[in-house]
Subunit: 347 residues, 2 copies
């Protein structure tokens, strides 16, 4: 075992502060990574606050990890010392069930291991995330990072990126499609970039007039202010796909009305009860309401490669590790464009 510095919270109402944690000794299939950058995901805050009722303390958040390989186990052939790599939301799965075999490790039937807050199969206790200097991860869960991109701004792709890329690919978004992205935050700003890069007519749907300009800068062709009923009505029955990034329960009915017949709106944010969905909004015109969570490892690599080709990164604000508690507060107030990334040099 190796002792490394990290930032942890000891309880839901305690601030994050510097601690020492243990990382396992390198196993034959392991990769040891010196962490350079780690994105700050809204999930980190939910987890720390125990909003989902499953927090394990001390909690070390962080699942948007970028770093350099410093050592590899004897069986590792896919990564070598010096490689620029990433680690996302998962660090292990059984690799044998039908979900794993179909590259959907997040639905591993034997339970995938999350980067933090999961049972740790090696050291016991629970896994500790990327707000730390070093992490040891089995090779299958280590991603290759394109070297032509601004490395710091790649970090959020490991969660915000794959969370939005995966449903856009699953529902086959392509040139000529009219695609709506609801909500302009960490997820939504990636949704716009991906949909635009896939060739879609990309429409930002937001409550905020202020965000309209920024949406266009990010690649949106049009903006709909969702509070404006007449604007919404003009776009009824016109969307091929809608990615809904609203992070809380809400009324999906006005958005379902925007879909063409046979088309889908996919939730990626609202892990909460929605207001009453009206059955008629699905039955009339055979519409679909779906959900999606991150994506498998193979698809995460595909997403990173896509980003390399299309020169896509997240819009970020860099922070020092010591600023994390302030950053959490600002994320909760939606005061970030669009993702904080921690410079792990500062730890």
């Amino acid at each position: 075992m190796k002792e490394v510095k990290a930032y942890a919270a000891s309880a839901n109402d305690a601030p994050l502060k510097e601690v020492n944690i243990n990382r396992r000794d390198l196993l034959d299939n392991d990769v040891s990574i010196d962490i350079m950058y780690c994105g700050v995901c809204h999930s980190d805050i939910h987890a720390k606050l125990n909003d989902w009722g499953n927090a394990k303390y001390p909690i070390v958040p962080g699942h948007e990890i970028i770093g350099k390989v410093t050592a590899v186990g004897s069986n590792v052939s896919n990564h070598k010392v010096g490689d620029l790599v990433g680690v996302g939301c998962m660090v292990d799965s059984c690799q044998e069930c039908s979900a794993c075999k179909e590259d959907q490790e997040m639905w591993c039937e034997n339970g995938s291991t999350s980067t933090y807050n999961s049972k740790d199969p090696h050291l016991g206790g629970h896994t500790l995330g990327g707000y730390s200097k070093l992490i040891v991860v089995r090779e299958e869960f280590v991603l290759k990072v394109p070297t032509n991109l601004d490395t710091k701004a790649v970090a959020p792709l490991l969660c915000a990126g794959i969370t939005t890329y995966s449903p856009l690919k699953h529902w086959n978004v392509k040139k000529g499609d009219k695609v709506g992205i609801i909500g302009l935050g960490g997820l939504g700003h990636m949704g716009i970039k991906f949909a635009a890069a896939m060739g879609a007519e990309t429409v930002m749907i937001t409550t905020s007039e202020e965000k309209a300009k920024d949406a266009k800068r990010l690649g949106a062709d049009q903006v709909i202010i969702s509070k404006d009923e007449s604007q919404m009505k003009e776009h009824n029955d016109s969307f091929d796909f809608i990615l809904n990034t609203i992070p809380v329960g809400h009324d999906v009915n006005p958005y379902l009305a925007l879909l063409k017949r046979d088309c889908t709106m996919c939730l990626v944010g609202a892990i909460e009860p929605l207001e009453n969905v009206h059955g008629a909004n699905l039955i009339l015109r055979r519409k679909k309401l779906a959900g999606s969570l991150i994506g498998g490892i193979k698809e995460t690599q595909e997403m990173l490669d896509f980003c390399g080709e299309h020169n896509i990164t997240s819009d970020i604000e860099m922070i020092d590790m010591q600023d994390i508690n302030n950053a959490f507060e600002r994320v909760q107030k939606n005061d970030v464009k669009y993702r904080f990334v921690i410079d792990m040099e500062t730890l």
Copy 2:
């Protein structure tokens, strides 16, 4: 114009009674049909009661029509005098929009004409349905009825049949799939028959212990009593497709839990607000909640041909036209196995 006998209600709180109505003279593309049987659909009652706020009086319900062709217009080549034919929920559409061209006339962008309660493009006023002796329908909306089946029991296929067949086909139900049918009524009993005929492992999901036996007689391999939480839990994450025929708003969350990852539950009954759908039930395992309404004319013909091949009809109770008000009451109490059919000889 031709005067024919029918049964109509003059207001939402008035009983149905005998009246005379007008049918148009035969146009070049029209088929004139002497109605032999008409099914009693729950929609007939909703429409008569103005539950959907769009009733036009006097209302003549009925969109599960079986009859014999008595005359055809000069351009009609597809039907001839003496043919056994059916008419379902639609009698006209533009035939030119993308929906019509894709055989989805129910979503005609210029508005399809429902068999009753729609604007009548020929006589003005509104269309009058199958609770009558005769109907004149343009040939594209006249279906061929297999002659090897019990003709009376074919009537409900024109609505209850296509409403359940279409989603089972759209979501590609096939041999080996585990398919759930929620609710055992007019729609549900057809859902069981179709899913079983398609080779699926067919599971009836019902609140009622009583209905379990009947479900098996109709072709269900298994029955789950939905009020029994432990029974439900055993089947979590196991269904390839679920057809939800519950006709009112309800809590879909326990049913979403039954779906395998990436699979769909389709609503065909609940044209009402659902209780709070929990976003997590869609986001975790990429599940889909969808809806479907009847089906296009081409698919309705395919469904009738499938019924001919597989010897499928509805389970019915025959009534005289004069019994209709009583039948409406019994349908509202769910006291019918599983569809009333009116013998139009009695009018």
